[in-house]
């Protein structure tokens, strides 16, 4: 089975989200599906539940999706977005407690090896072990 966990990057800034996705693609390659979003509904700094839902669906894999976020509102909005997915998808999406850039690169590297969603999340979250 060639499915790989998808990665979603959610930043308050579209530029940071895009830049992080660019780094993932360069360092990990394009086998892993990476989607990103940033900015509030008016295009200012912030996060947006409907764009996060779109990004999750764009990165969708039967193995699940790991979300990397920057600051508080990105996490809260990502959790809200997960709850608004179709019920059969909700259990297959996690918000990782990890720094956004390093977490995205590490999660994507782990995903590229065919790891499970739990393994991908664990690798990303090792970065924030205190």
């Amino acid at each position: 089975m060639n499915d790989m966990v998808g990665i979603v990057i959610v930043s308050h800034s579209k530029d940071i989200a895009k830049g992080t996705a660019d780094m993932v693609r360069q360092m990990v390659g394009s086998e892993v599906k990476v989607a990103f979003c940033g900015g509030d509904p008016d295009g200012g700094l912030g996060t947006n539940v409907s764009l996060i839902i779109d990004a999750i669906n764009a990165a969708w894999s039967p193995k699940g999706v790991a979300i990397l976020v920057d600051l508080g509102g990105a996490e809260t909005n990502s959790e809200m977005a997960v709850e608004m997915l179709q019920p059969e998808r909700q259990g297959l999406v996690v918000v990782c407690n990890a720094p956004i850039v390093e977490g995205a690169v590490m999660a994507a590297t782990e995903a590229a090896g065919g790891s499970s969603l739990d393994e991908v999340r664990a690798v990303a979250e090792e970065l924030s072990a205190s």
Binding site: D40, P41, T47, G72, G73, T76, N77, E79, M80, M84
Partner: protein, 206 residues
């Protein structure tokens, strides 16, 4: 008589207009201890709610609360979207099989519980919960009393002001630590504004 959709519509309109009128004040409070977007985020969210006012007035009350919640979740753009959105979604959910004003304390409590769960926060952490929780307690203890509306107004004002000396441990203000002391929490203030608008409307209802 249970709360009618038209009455809810009047209340929602007043609440939305009041919070939009406070955009500059909320922005200033949030610039002091947050990222400065609370005013503009609330304005965007409640303008979207105003845009759905006719639909809100045409729905059964429980569905109308769900519409308000979903609209805020989708349009606010900051953490306050899911927080306020969860409040209204949970209120809508709780209203199935219950009605206002008879079950107000229970229904309001469901909304407050959802905010607490969404923010993983409790009262005392310099957030909107520092207004919502005292009001919830008042609704439970003073249900049915003739001066309830006035007491909600006073409780909300005092509770919002009481966030000033608190040190934030949740939300963006937590980064500031002791520097968050001395400023009213923007979420507590917006909750107070919304509650006041509802109280004002209740007093004017026939």
């Amino acid at each position: 008589m249970p709360l009618q959709p038209e009455q809810l519509k009047t209340m929602v309109k007043a609440a939305a207009e009041q919070v939009i009128a406070c955009t500059a004040e909320l922005t200033a409070l949030d610039q002091a201890i947050g990222d400065g977007d609370h005013g503009i985020n609330m304005k965007r969210g409640f303008e979207a709610v105003l845009g759905k006012l006719d639909a809100i007035g045409a729905q059964p009350v429980d569905e109308a609360f769900q519409t308000i919640g979903k609209t805020l979740v989708m349009t606010v753009g900051g953490a306050s979207g899911p927080l306020y959105g969860s409040f209204f979604l949970a209120v809508g959910e709780a209203l199935r099989g219950k009605q206002l004003p008879d079950d107000l304390a229970d229904v309001f409590g469901s909304g407050v519980g959802a905010v607490s769960a969404r923010g993983r926060s409790q009262a005392g952490e310099k957030t909107m919960l520092d207004v919502l929780v005292p009001v919830q307690e008042l609704l439970r203890n003073a249900a049915g009393q003739s001066d309830l509306v006035e007491r909600v107004r006073t409780t909300a004002s005092k509770a919002a002001a009481a966030t000033a000396p608190m040190q934030a441990t949740k939300g963006r203000a937590a980064f500031l630590g002791a520097r968050s002391v001395g400023h009213v929490d923007p979420g507590a203030r917006s909750s107070c504004v919304l509650l006041h608008a509802v109280c004002d409307t209740l007093e004017k209802l026939p």
